[in-house]
């Protein structure tokens, strides 16, 4: 039975991170209902494994990692990804001319998840490295390259439209 401290940390971490978990799941699965289910699975799995998490400060990162694992399980089951335009229709209406999240969704997972975790969820290089299980030094180079790819994609689209 998890201690009160663990239980409270779990509840606080879920409350604090559930929107971030949803965005990660939506970016990976491209379908809101599947994303919600994946977050729900991740919460359940994290609770079941709570006793084995030594550092409670790592709990938010663990929740994010569990979300990514849950999404991979869904993707393995699907054996295919939903068409790319599916993500766009589930994103909120954007007033700006540049629908950045749609372009973000076009990037490979290697780039889009670090960009999302950094610039949407305000996570540090260390946290991103912990969640994605990549060396810390790699995170900054992925972010730099990901931003460049995102900008190039937007410029290409806008030139095409213009």
């Amino acid at each position: 039975m998890p201690s009160d401290t663990r239980r409270d940390s779990f509840l606080k971490a879920v409350e604090a991170r559930k929107h971030s978990m949803y965005r990660v799941a939506l970016m990976m699965l491209r379908h809101p209902a599947d994303a919600e289910d994946a977050v729900s699975d991740a919460v359940e799995i994290t609770w079941r494994r709570l006793h084995s998490i030594r550092d409670l400060e790592a709990l938010p990162a663990y929740l994010m990692r569990s979300t990514i694992n849950a999404c991979h399980a869904v993707l393995r089951k699907r054996r295919r990804e939903t068409a790319m335009d599916a993500l766009e229709q589930y994103l909120p209406p954007v007033q700006e001319e540049t629908p950045v999240w749609m372009y973000l969704g076009n990037l490979k997972e290697r780039y889009r998840l670090p960009l999302l975790l950094r610039f949407s969820e305000n996570m540090s290089d260390r946290q991103i490295a912990q969640i994605l299980k990549v060396p810390r030094g790699t995170v900054s180079s992925i972010l730099s390259r990901g931003l460049k790819m995102l900008r190039e994609q937007i410029e290409k689209e806008e030139k095409g439209c213009g």
Binding site: H19, E96, V100, L147, R151
Partner: protein, 392 residues
């Protein structure tokens, strides 16, 4: 478009899930956090009668607080604690009393404790240990509070009584001013001996009683630190604090302030029971790795150590872990407290006991994995080991 503009757009355009999702996940987390707890269960009428009768031999609120063996009370939900109860009675209890304008007449004390030389389980009670009220700071008070970046939603400790926390969560989500103060009598996480040992806690269980009473059973990591093992008597004390936590949200900015006053610690003298500590050995082979097993087991706890004879236990994928299932000659299962990854020559597993020292033991070593994790065939084959007792 430069990088800064792009970063800002990623943030400002991020999708936000609907309120139904919020509610679903919050409820799920609350349900999970509550499912293995006994916090919501009320003490039965019989227990209250027993407590009241016993309290006649003592006096007042303190007697009510300490007049019942809490192991018996928790034993209604946990057979292991019920079986440890007769060995957990203390000869003497030393309650602490306090009187606070907000909390009222409070009392706290260690009620009972089990110590067998290897394991320690302590039960204590606190009366009138928590009170919440609305709080709006004066300008002077606000100036003395710390600014917080984001008003995080707070978890409800007791959904039946934490209406102010519910109001806080609603107000901060809606951008409306709100504040509350929480007054508590809290036990320290540390349990110390006069020799300066800090006994590491493992878990706690709580039961709310009538009239603001809260009963707690605290378990400790077993085996205890070497200096605390196999003693005839263990003197322990658990610190007590009176804390006040102020929270205020002005509609845009969150503020908090924390105050703490140390109280007299709860103390107890715990004599070692005559419980048996038994040791077992065995051998097996898993995924081509031969290993030896040693087990130390009592009524309260067990520890299993697996040592690879040559090399290491195979490393596992990130979503898989080694698990041991341990059961005694009556087929009673020991409750596992942890799993572990491989890639090392020794694996250690800890368990809660069954309430009785075992005469026979058998274990199963296996690899458990989350759905979708792919395991090589040798890792999918569990191994069973019947253990031989090496102590009387």
């Amino acid at each position: 478009m430069d990088d800064r503009q792009l970063e800002r757009l990623i943030f400002t355009q991020r999708p936000v899930p609907g309120p139904a999702f919020d509610l679903r996940i919050s409820r799920q987390a609350q349900r999970l956090a509550g499912e293995t707890q006994v916090m919501k269960k009320k003490i039965s009428v019989l227990a209250i009668v027993v407590a009241t009768v016993l309290s006649l031999a003592l006096c007042g609120a303190v007697a009510e607080l300490l007049g019942i063996n809490l192991f018996e009370l928790f034993g209604r939900e946990d057979q292991r604690l019920a079986q440890l109860a007769p060995k957990a009675a203390l000869n003497e209890v030393s309650p602490i009393t306090m009187n606070d304008p907000k909390l009222g007449a409070g009392a706290a004390g260690i009620n009972s404790a089990y110590y067998d030389g290897q394991s320690l389980v302590v039960a204590y009670a606190i009366r009138n240990g928590r009170y919440l009220e609305e709080f709006t700071p004066t300008q002077e008070q606000l100036a003395g509070m710390e600014q917080n970046n984001n008003p995080l939603a707070m978890a409800l400790t007791n959904p039946e009584t934490d209406d102010l926390i519910r109001q806080w969560n609603e107000a901060t989500a809606a951008g409306k001013p709100f504040g509350f103060a929480e007054y508590t009598i809290s036990p320290s996480d540390h349990t110390r001996t006069p020799e300066g040992l800090d006994l590491p806690p493992d878990s706690t269980s709580q039961l709310p009683g009538e009239d603001g009473q809260v009963f707690t059973v605290r378990e400790y990591v077993s085996p205890l630190p070497e200096e605390a093992r196999d003693l005839d008597v263990l003197h322990i004390e658990i610190g007590l604090f009176q804390t006040t936590h102020y929270h205020y949200f002005d509609g845009q900015q969150a503020y908090s302030r924390f105050e703490r006053v140390d109280l007299e610690p709860m103390k107890a003298t715990v004599w070692r029971t005559d419980a048996h500590i038994r040791r077992f050995e065995g051998q097996g082979s898993f995924a081509g790795v031969p290993f030896t097993v040693t087990v130390t087991a009592s009524a309260a706890a067990a520890q299993v150590s697996l040592k690879a004879g040559d090399g290491v236990f195979p490393a596992l994928p990130e979503d898989a872990w080694y698990a041991v299932h341990l059961r005694d000659g009556k087929l009673a299962e020991f409750r596992s407290l942890d799993g572990t990854s491989g890639g090392k020559d020794t694996l250690v597993f800890n368990f809660h006991g069954t309430g009785q020292a075992p005469d026979k033991l058998e274990l199963q070593l296996r690899v458990d994995a989350e759905d979708g994790a792919e395991l090589e065939r040798p890792l999918k084959e569990p191994v069973f080991v019947t253990l031989t007792k090496t102590t009387p």
